[in-house]
Assembly symmetry: C2
Homo-oligomer: 271 residues x 2
C-alpha cells in the first residue's frame, strides 16, 4: 500500500515489521476505505470511575487494540474479545490515569503477544512508547497518535484511520475537559491542544469518544464541542479558560496515590 | 416517495398527514439511503436504573424522536435536544417500564407539539398508540414497530429505516433478556418474539441497542446474540429457555408499584 509515496506496512504485530510508522504528513489525509473494511469500535463503561474503554478492530483481519481498559473489568473485556474472535495486539493508554488502575497489566498476562503502549511523553513504562503522529496499526486499520498535553504532559488523542472518530482521552470531554491542577497539568497547554490541534484539524462530524462521562452522555462530535463546550468552545479565550479551571476547586482524586504509581508502570505490574 | 407501490408520507408531524403508515410488507425491505441522509442515533445512560435513552433524528429535516426517556434525566435530554437543534415530534416508550418512571410526561410539558407514543397492546394511555409494522416517522426517517411480547404483553422493538440498528427494549438485552415473571410476562412468548421475529428477520450486522445493561456493555449485534446469548441463542430450545427463566428467582422490582401505574399513563402524568 502506498500513501503519499510512503510505503505503509499494514500489519503491526508480525515479526520484524515496524509497528510504528512515521509517514510524512499522511496522518490527516481522510482515508477512503470501503464500508466493509471500515474500522470497528465498541465502547464499554465502568460505573465506579465512569471510565470508557474502547475496543477497536479491523473487520478484515480481526486484529484489534483495546484502549484505556480498567483493571476491574478485565474479565468482561476478555470475554467480549474472545466472543468477537479478536486478536488484540496492543493495550493502549491515552495517559497515566489518576482515577483508576489500568487493566493493561492484567490483560498482558492473559492475552499472549499483546503489548502495552503509552506515550513517550508520559514517562510511563510500557512495551512500546509512541510519539506525535505515530500510527498504531491493527490489521488494515490504525489510529494516529496526536500529542495533546495539558491534563497531563503525556496525554494523547487517537484518531481513527477513517477519521470517523477520535478517542479523546481526558483531553476533551463531553462539554468539559480533564482537570489541569496536578500531574504537570497546564490550562494554557490544554487550551492549545484542544483548540489548535483537535478543533483545527478534525472535521465537524468526527465523533468524539472521551475517556469519561459522569452524566450519561456517551459521545459527542467536534462540531458540538466547538459550539457548546462551556470551557473550550470557540467563544472562549485562553484567559477565560484558565480562570474557569482555576476556579474549579476540585478535591484530591481518591485513587491518585494508588493509581498513578501503578499506571506509570502500566505494562508490567503484577496481575 | 414510493415504496413497493405504497405512497409514503414522510413528515409525521404536519397537520392532517398520517403519522402512522401501514404499508404492505415494506417494513423489512432494506432501504438504500445515502450516507448524508442516514438516520442519526444518540445513546444516553441513566445510572440508577441502568437505562438507555435514545434520541433519533433525520439529518435533513432535524425532526426527531426520543425513546425510553427517564424522568430524572429530562433536563439533560432537553439541553441536548436544544443544542442539536432538533424538533422532537414523538416521545416513544418500548413498553410500560417497571424500574423507572418515563420522562415522556415531563417532556410533553416542555416540548410543544411533542406527542407520546406506546403500543396499543400495552394498555397504556398515550397520545398515539401503535401496532405491529406501523412506522413512526420523523423527517425522512422512520422506525418500524415490531410487536415483541414476552417481557410484557405490550413490548415492541423499533427497527431503524436503514435497518442499521434495532432498539430492542427489554425484549433482547445484551447476552440477556427482560424477565418474564410479572406484567403478563411469558417465557414461551418472549422466545417466539426473539427467535422468530428478531433473529429471523434482521441481518447479522444489525446493531442491537437495548433498554438496559448492568455490566458496562452499550450495544451488541444480532449475530452476537444469536451466537452468545446464554438464554436465547440459537442453541437453546424453548424448554431450556423457560427453565432458565423459571430458575432466576428474581426479587420484586423496587420501583414497580410506583413506576407501572405512572407509566401506564405515560403521556399524561403531572410534570
Amino acid at each position: 500500500m502506498q500513501l503519499n509515496g510512503t510505503e505503509v506496512v499494514m500489519r503491526g504485530n508480525a515479526n520484524n515489521e515496524p509497528w510504528v510508522k512515521k509517514p510524512p504528513l499522511v496522518s490527516w489525509v481522510r482515508a477512503s476505505l470501503s464500508n466493509s473494511s471500515k474500522i470497528r469500535v465498541r465502547q464499554l463503561f465502568e460505573k465506579v470511575s465512569s471510565t470508557f474503554t474502547y475496543i477497536l478492530w479491523c473487520p478484515i483481519t480481526m486484529d484489534a487494540i483495546i484502549v484505556d481498559p480498567v483493571d476491574c473489568c478485565v474479565d468482561r473485556d476478555i470475554k467480549l474479545i474472545t466472543e468477537l474472535k479478536l486478536n488484540v495486539v496492543y493495550g493502549v493508554n491515552t495517559h497515566a490515569h489518576a482515577d483508576h488502575i489500568t487493566g493493561t497489566g492484567i490483560l498482558k498476562s492473559k492475552i499472549s503477544n499483546m503489548k502495552s503502549v503509552i506515550s513517550l511523553a508520559s514517562g510511563a513504562k510500557a512495551d512500546e512508547t509512541v510519539e506525535n503522529f505515530d500510527q498504531i496499526c491493527f490489521g488494515n486499520s490504525y489510529v494516529t497518535v496526536v500529542n495533546t498535553p495539558g491534563h497531563t504532559s503525556g496525554c494523547v488523542c487517537l484518531v481513527s484511520s477513517d477519521e470517523a472518530f477520535v478517542l479523546s482521552g481526558d483531553t476533551l470531554l463531553i462539554r468539559g475537559c480533564g482537570r489541569t491542577d496536578f500531574q504537570e497539568g497546564s490550562s494554557a497547554v490544554l487550551f492549545d491542544s484542544v483548540r489548535n490541534k483537535l478543533f483545527c484539524n478534525l472535521a465537524d462530524d468526527v465523533v468524539v469518544y472521551p475517556a469519561h462521562n459522569y452524566g450519561g452522555h456517551l459521545c459527542s462530535t467536534i462540531a458540538e464541542e466547538k459550539e457548546y463546550n462551556p470551557r473550550l468552545g470557540l467563544g472562549k479565550t485562553v484567559e477565560e479558560f484558565t480562570a474557569i479551571m482555576e476556579g474549579l476547586n476540585l478535591s484530591h482524586p481518591k485513587m491518585i496515590d494508588v493509581a498513578v504509581p501503578a499506571n506509570l508502570n502500566c505494562g508490567f505490574q503484577d496481575a
